[in-house]
């Protein structure tokens, strides 16, 4: 939409304007869910399972109920309501059995958090423990103990997903393209390797928090730190069979989401406690430890890649088998599997492909969406694999990537034809390779090696991602004009830090030709007042809500012109406007100010026409299809954003310690709406990707207990870890159906950083790594060929052998 607008014709789009949401944040006045105060507010705590797998024999809550200050105690027995986005496999509280260490089995609402905690400690639960299954490959084995024996009875979206009852497979996504046997026959070299990644936490700085109030006759209000208010409402109503208009979901400022707050979380439990406490509002806020061990994380992954390649570097075939460790529940994780099923090869053309992507249930904390899901994880193995093959062929890894890169005319894995409008991954690779002076070390770098005794390595990696969403994903935006011709924009896409509202404000300003300070995007979202939006996920906001904003602004102007036409006695087609007036094109002196049209035009005698000006824009993804369940063929992608990273890394060849010196990252953004927010997404995403690559990841003991559920042992990167230089580069191949040609770049900076780091380290010192995160210790082991004790490897998410 408007993708061919020339840069010089744009006033607000493309400029680094100030963010519209920061004033309240930098002054401490922004209210997040946990900051809300309301009369009669109760506080909730949960009782959690000390076993990874057990039957619940008995729960005794009597002592807890008798404790003064306790208003409600609830157990899973009372709540036969199932929750889930794509596969409805969760209860509000564990019922009958527990499936992961830390799962909530009971909850209390009390006057204070301390009383609630005390009451939780008084709840007595009797368990009968069972052998947990903790490894996704072991879970795949015939006769593996079942995590969900009732899988066959669960509801799920049948057009898209394939659970296999009687197994631990929550979903099997298949991709079949071309003739895989022939592809391998045509190959000169076949390379097969296995890779793995652990579970990782999103770590929003604000932990999950919800306040629920369930009044008689099912009038329900939820205040929550959710990314997707309408999805919370939808899933809630589905679970409790309540009409949508009886439930109001209110999302104030959100302290980061990254996918972890995309679905439904603590809201139902807070509401159920409220119902039991006679309708008093109940607040349930996760502690940081609960954020790690109660709430969902990124699925782990164990995968095998087998690639056939010709001597000249052309890939002929690729077979991939992916075992996603979804943990105890897979309501969202099945879609992670699906996303990896249709995109797993990276931005490369694979003429003959065969992918089996399995969502495996295990007795661990459960997986969900995490920024770039299905791609960040797989990009580790794929990008390591690409380098490994190139080295085998003695071809430069960048040349190897360029040879196989998707380009106009290429067919993607699902059979979609790449066009010159799709985006240009080769340009992204070339841009970062120039930026890091790929190919050799500069004089300064050689001098640095000499001075420090470190070895410097460089790598270029490439990536792609399209929004992983249903093909019919929809949104709407409403723009209301105020009496003074300022406007207020309402939408249910949430502002979680990504800068979406600033971009929307710029687009509206551009369309209306109003200055930015006359555009306000209403900063909280309320399902009673905002129009529908599916979810704030998948880097789809700018395309879908951006288009809806354009349409809403055009609708607003159309309505203003209709009234103005009557006032000015002119046809609307002869009208134009500036930031103040609507005027007749051929008699510019004949005009009427927006402020007199805003809430209806009144003639001097009191007669009136028009009415409050409201513009509505609806937008739905168009032309996409579900994928064929047997072959994976179809059109899943709203837009493909391509990108590349170039990394310069130095490694201590003795100890394996390493420093990231420089990272350049390029994305084909289609059109950069705001270079400052774009850079914010790039730098922030790259650093988050580095965290995934070098230090984050769940570590369990043999019984399935999470050992590092706090910042003490689950480090995230700090300001000290920022690479010396970080460069963000934009390529602009306009997206025809993107707002002003724009594509999303929210998730992409995080993708393939892991593979890039692994490759740069390999190029620096020869350490060949197949498991991430990459700790200094792992590099040391790889350099000196010292095997890791098998036990510690397993606990960090390396798989046992199938």
């Amino acid at each position: 939409m408007l993708e061919n607008t020339r840069r010089e014709d744009l006033t607000y789009v493309g400029r680094g304007v100030d963010r519209v949401d920061t004033l309240e944040k930098i002054t401490g006045h922004a209210l997040y869910t946990g900051d809300l105060r309301m009369p009669g507010l109760l506080h909730a705590k949960t009782k959690r399972s000390p076993h990874a797998k057990a039957r619940i024999r008995r729960i005794n809550t009597q002592k807890a109920e008798r404790l003064p200050g306790v208003h409600a105690v609830i157990t899973g027995d009372e709540l036969d309501n199932r929750l889930g986005l794509y596969l409805v496999d969760k209860h509000v509280l564990a019922r009958g059995s527990v499936r992961y260490h830390g799962e909530a089995v009971a909850a209390v609402a009390a006057d204070t958090p301390a009383i609630a905690q005390h009451a939780v400690e008084l709840i007595d639960v009797e368990y009968e423990t069972e052998e947990p299954v903790l490894d996704p490959v072991a879970a795949f084995r015939r006769n593996a103990p079942l995590v969900h024996p009732d899988l066959g009875r669960y509801n799920y979206i049948k057009e898209v997903f394939t659970p296999l009852p009687g197994t631990n497979i929550a979903n099997h996504t298949k991709l079949r393209k071309g003739d895989i046997e022939k592809g391998f026959k045509d190959a000169d070299l076949i390379v097969e390797r296995e890779y793995s990644n652990p579970n990782v936490q999103h770590v929003p700085m604000e932990t999950h928090v919800a306040i629920g109030q369930w009044l008689p006759e099912n009038r329900i209000t939820i205040w929550t730190s959710a990314q997707s208010p309408f999805t919370v409402r939808n899933l809630f109503c589905h679970a409790f069979k309540v009409p949508r208009n009886q439930v109001r979901v209110f999302v104030p400022y959100v302290g980061g989401g990254f996918g972890g707050k995309a679905g439904i979380g603590l809201e139902p439990l807070a509401c159920c406690l409220s119902r039991k406490a006679g309708g008093r509002p109940v607040k349930l806020q996760a502690t940081r430890e609960e954020e790690f061990s109660l709430l969902p994380c990124r699925s782990g992954l164990v995968y095998k890649i087998k690639t056939g390649v010709q001597k000249d570097g052309k890939i002929t075939a690729q077979k991939m088998t992916l075992f996603w460790d979804a943990g105890a529940y897979a309501d969202y994780a099945v879609n992670v599997t699906r996303a990896s099923g249709y995109s797993a090869a990276g931005p490369y053309e694979i003429p003959n492909a065969w992918i089996d992507s399995y969502t495996m249930y295990t007795n661990k904390p459960f997986g969900t969406a995490y920024r770039g899901f299905g791609h960040v994880e797989v990009s580790w193995g794929v990008e390591r694999h690409m380098d490994f093959i190139a080295h085998k062929l003695k071809i430069d890894p960048l040349e190897f990537r360029k040879t196989n890169a998707l380009k106009p005319g290429s067919l993607t894995l699902t059979g979609e034809t790449v066009t010159e409008h799709t985006g240009n991954v080769t340009r992204c690779m070339e841009a970062v390779s120039r930026e890091i002076q790929y190919g050799s070390l500069t004089k300064a770098e050689k001098a640095r090696e000499k001075r420090t005794g470190m070895k410097i390595g460089k790598a270029v990696v490439a990536l792609h991602k399209a929004p992983a969403m249903p093909p019919f994903t929809a949104t709407a935006v409403i723009i209301k004009m105020n009496e003074d011709a300022t406007v207020t924009v309402n939408l249910a896409l949430t502002e979680i830090g990504q800068g979406a509202y600033t971009a929307i404000a710029q687009i509206v300003a551009e369309q209306l030709r109003f200055p930015m300070d006359r555009i306000k995007v209403s900063l909280d979202s309320d399902t009673d007042k905002e129009p529908y939006d599916w979810q704030t996920v998948a880097s789809k906001g700018l395309v879908l809500s951006g288009n809806a904003s354009i349409l809403a602004a055009q609708d607003l102007l159309k309505k203003a012109y209709e009234t103005a036409g009557q006032v000015l006695r002119a046809s609307p087609v002869d009208l134009d406007h500036d930031d103040t007036n609507v005027f007749v094109k051929h008699h510019p002196g004949k005009s009427v100010p927006f402020s007199r049209l805003a809430v209806g035009y009144a003639y001097p005698d009191g007669n009136a026409i028009g009415g409050p000006l409201i513009g509505v824009g609806q937008y739905i993804a168009q032309g996409l299809t579900n994928l064929d369940k047997e072959t994976g063929q179809g059109l899943p992608a709203l837009d493909w954003t391509y990108g590349a990273h170039g990394l310069v890394v130095e490694v201590d060849p003795a100890t394996g310690e390493f420093n990231v010196i420089r990272i350049a990252s390029a994305f084909d953004a289609g059109k950069v709406i705001n270079p400052k927010t774009t850079r914010g997404q790039i730098v922030g995403g790259v650093l988050q990707g580095l965290g995934t690559a070098m230090c984050e990841g769940y570590i369990y003991d043999e019984s399935g207990r999470l050992m590092n559920s706090s910042f003490t042992d689950n480090k995230i990167l700090t300001a000290m870890d920022v690479p010396e230089e970080m460069v963000g580069i934009a390529v602009e191949t306009p997206q025809i159906d993107g707002a002003y040609g724009a594509r999303g770049v929210g998730e992409h900076p995080m993708i393939a950083i892991c593979g890039g780091l692994g490759n740069a380290i390999h190029n620096a010192c020869g350490a060949d790594l197949v498991h991430m995160p990459i700790r200094a210790e792992d590099v040391w082991r790889a350099i000196h060929k010292i095997p890791e004790p098998p036990r510690t490897g397993f606990l960090r998410g390396k798989s046992c052998k199938p």
Binding site: Q117, T655, K715, M720, E777, W780, T792
Partner: protein
């Protein structure tokens, strides 16, 4: 906090000692609170009474004299030490290690004495103090005693301190003033982190001393070496003296390797 305790802040030493005598097992001494409050929040400790020693007026602050050496009071924070010009001149190694302890916010509260009394195997400030031959001055209602720091640690989070005792100061002999050395700490990130393993070396005159953290149940100081000792000799002694374990932070063999590496590098640098 999710459970209730009583907070008391005695103003004098005798008041403090009486409180300790009275509450014994059920109380816990708090200085900076940066470890204790974390443990309480996590439910690892449940004292009934918290005795804040920061307001005891007759405890001495940080000072240095030729006669007494360096005196570190029970309320002296890491930040106090880092900012102190005399420490910077006479005992720079202490500052080097103190700067590696957690973050600015924590260093502004955490005390050196608290770091020692917490007796974690990874206590950052323990290593330079061991190298500097520090002494721990202990008082109780029944009297006072002095324990060498190397004898103070008795196990993981265990010390020679009895329930009714409190550390009133740590001293470093002025004979160690002017000692130079280095502190190396292996971390998972460049940002603030606990040590996976750490080595501290101090050289003064003809003496060389090395201490090692996160490699045994307690921080360990090796026997004294002559200043001209070879790295191999020190490393051999080190590997004989430590007992690192495999844990979620690091494995035993990498710890051993890094101890050796740090010793080689420190001897070369210092």
């Amino acid at each position: 906090m999710l459970y209730e305790f009583q907070y008391v802040a005695p103003k004098t030493k005798s008041e403090l000692l009486a409180l300790l005598d009275r509450h014994g097992d059920s109380c816990k001494i708090m200085a900076g609170g940066t470890d204790l409050l974390v443990d309480i929040r996590a439910g690892l400790r449940k004292p009934q009474v918290l005795i804040d020693i920061k307001k005891v007026s007759d405890f001495k602050p940080l000072s240095f004299s030729e006669k007494e050496g360096l005196l570190i009071g029970p309320a002296t924070t890491c930040a106090d030490v880092i900012r102190d010009k005399t420490v910077s001149r006479e005992f720079p190694i202490l500052i080097q290690a103190a700067k590696q302890l957690a973050s600015t916010q924590v260093r502004n509260r955490a005390t050196i004495v608290g770091n020692i009394c917490n007796a974690s195997p990874c206590a950052d400030t323990a290593l330079p103090l061991l190298c500097l031959d520090a002494s721990v001055h202990i008082v109780s209602k029944s009297g006072s005693r002095i324990v060498k720091l190397k004898d103070f640690f008795t196990g993981v989070k265990k010390t020679a301190l009895r329930k009714d005792e409190v550390v009133e100061k740590i001293t470093v002999p002025s004979s160690m003033a002017g000692g130079r050395g280095g502190f190396m700490k292996l971390k998972r990130i460049k940002g603030h982190d606990l040590s996976l393993v750490s080595v501290c070396l101090v050289k003064k005159g003809s003496l060389l001393r090395v201490a090692i953290g996160s490699a045994s149940p307690t921080p360990v100081v090796l026997k004294d070496f002559p200043a001209q000792v070879t790295a191999d000799n020190v490393a051999d002694e080190a590997l004989r003296s430590v007992k690192p374990i495999d844990d979620i932070r690091c494995s035993k063999d990498y710890r051993l390797f890094m101890i050796k590496t740090y010793i080689e590098r420190l001897i070369e640098e210092c």
